[in-house]
Amino acid sequence: MLDNNQLLRFTTAGSVDDGKSTLIGRLLYDSKSIFEDQLEAIENTSKKKGHEGVDLALFTDGLRDEREQGITIDVAYRYFTTPKRKFIIADTPGHIQYTRNMVTGASTANVATILIDARHGVIEQTKRHAFIASLLQIPHVIVCVNKMDLVDFSEDVFNKIVNQFESVSSKMLVKDVRFIPISALHGDNVVNRSENMPWYQGAPMLHTLETMHISSDINKVDARFPVQTILRPQREGFIDYRGYAGRVASGIFRPGDEVTVMPSGFNSKIKTIDTSNGQLEEAHAPMSISITLEDDIDISRGDMIVRSNNKPEATQDLEVMLCWLNNSPAKPRAKYTIKHTTNDQKAMIKEVVYKIDINSLDRINDDDSLNMNDICKVKLRTTKPLMIDSYRENRTTGSIILIDDSTNETVAAGMVV
């Protein structure tokens, strides 16, 4: 593997029937990412269950309950590497009652893969998956039209599904969409090009994942640096050292840059950008660094260092698209801990503006209850200002979670509108 290879994170959403597990199994198997002892274990289980041949879907089974019920309950992460890239798959269940798991898996993905059964075309579930990809602003979408073997590898069927999908996605914010006709069961167009579909001119799925251009997806314009912790070594050679440690959320920082510390508003200049390997000439997302400033300013965790000529909005009133993640519904006007970058404050849900029926994608205006898996637009009020950007501009400074202080559970995830 080459040293300059990139990491690509993608999600798969789907149910057993879509052949999602078979697709992942096929990707791992044909890219030779499966070990012999794993294969042996799965051959044994396949035999025990009376399956013919090796059931590739068994590779993705995780917890005992899931094996017993034959479904994916949670997000499971899978890894494989090709000579071109390292891949992380966030494998999520596809049913409506697992919307929250899909949202979780989608939050860090570069690419969403959406599976469509060629026999059924675009169904409610497809719309839901496309909607989640657009809500979470996943930069690229690959639509895999699966089970092409069951529709005689028909180009007409494929084209009809492409049209169906485009009429649905045109109403959403999905930027880069590609369509691939595949058969996960037989391996057509997954890793190897299909001989059964000469009419398809595009690349197989793996090649598409390997060559997709992702380095321009990061925000290089708005320099944002949430401070995680302060480094004060107080040892020889570093007596007066005071470094602000964190990970660059977006933009580019260089020594000499004029910066402002928010929310205090103090201005200074970057003196050095440090790592344990030495000083850097510039730093960008998602690098973990520490910054020293020319002036001695009081800075603590939760503050944000930004370029003075490009600041986020500091506000106590936020409009967010919220996905409710918890079993217990939201309590009206209750206070929650809100986590935004490295900053914790308290927040209250002031108003539910509308809810979204995630099957029809219609707005519901007269229902302000928030139950598990609900997606809605809400108004939040925080006790202190947060330094926010819109989620569309900035996935890091535009995202929040809510924590219920009575259970400490993460109950909601939100994207700043």
């Binding site: 321009s216 964190g246 973990s288 490295t342």
Partner: protein, 301 residues
């Protein structure tokens, strides 16, 4: 291609450093669980980098089964001296002597499961609210579901079906008195990533990972090292082989593989050609299909 991107090792490193700094910021008394294996050595190395030029702010905690490779203990003590860090030892032998646990019986007896009690006792005794581990999601199917910040109730138990969702890079480490967290900064690394990074950073690791001559016995498809704890069964014979270990656990259960790889470069080449998972040589995982999940639920690493 744009110059503003990280290669996969830099991105994994940056993610791990971010998580280690979050641990430091969100917990009162975090420690690194140190086994002497390459993964916990890697976590320690990353922690050193995360807080440079400050000293590593975590104590290292070792759950000592008493069934160690002597090389592991030497390595541990040297590393502690180099780092100037504090070492906390939880002793399984003491747990046995105090009657907290009973030694397993039979020919496949190990002290593996006994570690759970010792670990949880040490966490409680030292008031630890976060134990940082070198667990990776690619190791085993139950570990594939782990969060970066993984909650443990006041009995130290893991509830895999009721985990907190983890979105973006917003890690929720809030907990009540008596509960603790496990943090897994190298969750997204694979075995190959670990070796490539160790090679790149030239991190020193115990000599056991390199091919060396050793007295071993062929058992359960791997070479089990001769030690004072090994009881020979009928037909078994001690032979001298050139072996190395892919993972390090107790000397009683860690099998070696025949190998000529005596440098990091050769190990990386060998690992990339491997067709068996690294835990394939660990008899503790072979007991049943959900052996790891069952141990993890009770509080295992």
């Amino acid at each position: 291609m744009s110059k503003y991107y990280l290669n996969y090792l830099d991105e994994l490193e940056s993610e791990a450093i971010f998580i280690l700094r979050e641990v430091w910021a969100q917990f009162q008394n975090p420690v690194i669980l140190f086994s002497g294996g390459k993964d916990s050595i890697l976590v320690t190395h990353l922690a050193k980098k995360a807080f440079y030029p400050s000293k590593i702010p975590f104590a290292l905690m070792h759950v000592d089964t008493g069934h160690n490779f002597p090389e592991t203990i030497d390595f541990r003590d040297n590393l502690i001296k180099d780092l100037g860090a504090q070492l906390i030892v939880g002793s399984v032998q003491e747990s046995i002597d105090q009657g907290r646990v009973a030694e397993e019986k039979g020919k496949n007896a190990t002290r593996n499961a006994l570690q759970i009690t010792t670990l949880l006792d040490a966490i409680e005794l030292n008031k630890i609210d976060c134990a940082i581990g070198g667990g990776r999601r690619d190791e085993e199917k139950a570990r594939a579901k782990e969060r970066f910040f993984s909650h443990r109730d006041d009995f130290g138990q893991w509830d895999p079906k009721n985990q907190r969702p983890e979105l973006w890079n917003l890690l929720n480490g809030k907990h009540f008195e008596g509960e603790h967290f496990r943090a897994f900064p190298i969750s997204n690394w694979t075995e190959m990533d670990v070796w490539n990074y160790i090679k790149r950073e030239n991190i020193s690791i115990p000599s056991l990972y390199f091919a060396h001559e050793r007295e071993v016995v062929w058992r359960s498809n791997s070479w089990i090292p001769k030690s004072e704890f090994l009881i020979l069964e009928e037909g078994e014979e001690v032979v001298k082989k050139k072996v190395r270990f892919r993972t390090l656990g107790d000397i009683t259960i860690t099998g070696g593989i025949e190998s000529e790889a005596d440098t990091l470069e050769k190990i990386a080449v060998e690992v990339s050609a491997m067709r068996q998972t690294e835990r394939g040589n660990r008899t503790d995982d072979k007991r049943s299909e959900s052996a790891m999940e069952d141990r993890k639920r009770q509080g295992y690493f």
